[in-house]
Symmetry: C2
Subunit: 124 residues, 2 copies
């Protein structure tokens, strides 16, 4: 099992506890169609979520990864979100349109996520 799926499972469990129905997507990194890591819905709100974990201080997201998330979400009728957890912290959520671009990648920094990331209670 790929390492990343442990954190996807953790996030899916958290979403269920928070009132959502949530699933991990099969082969999200390898499918011939763009796909997020997790899909979660509650009532009329649907999220397509790219999941990132880091034991360090920064996460870099490729431009294509973000573009795929946006185009998939637009087509499905879902809101795109980045679900982020840095080691020792709780899950936070980021609106991908607010990510900082740096040389063709998007940079996510631990301190900023802890300060400004959206909490699970606030995403609806």
């Amino acid at each position: 099992m790929p390492k990343g799926s442990r954190y996807e499972r953790e996030l899916v469990d958290l979403l269920w506890k928070s009132g959502f129905a949530a699933v991990r997507v099969a082969g999200s990194g390898s499918s011939s169609h763009p796909a997020p890591d997790v899909i979660a819905g509650r009532g009329k709100t649907l999220f397509a979520i790219e999941v990132k974990y880091s034991s360090g201080e920064r996460i870099y997201l490729g431009k294509e990864e973000v573009n795929d998330l946006l185009s998939f979400s637009n087509r499905m009728g879902a809101k795109p979100l980045i679900g982020v957890r840095f080691r020792g912290t709780e899950w936070r959520f980021l609106d991908p349109s607010l990510l900082k671009e740096r040389r063709n990648t998007y940079l996510i920094e631990r301190e900023e996520v802890i300060e400004n990331g959206i909490r699970i209670q606030e995403i609806l």
Copy 2:
């Protein structure tokens, strides 16, 4: 790879060709939360789909499988569908509330699906 996933992939491809964004759900038969096989959305319409293939004349669906699909769909805000393909025929879709019950299972018959099943062009 489980045999069923071949037909899930085939259906996901068909849904993409028909304008949907669609994904296979990871571990849909084994997860600790109820989950459909496929999720597909287009604009404001979202479907949670249980996928069935048969080379025979009949498909039996367990009552619990159908109940899980209904409760998942209700929680996610999706419409539940059974996606069915009998060997040599095209995909058809069934509203689970119209399934015929027989001794705690639901029976899906080849001839009836070919006559009355919803075509992909009609599901929106």
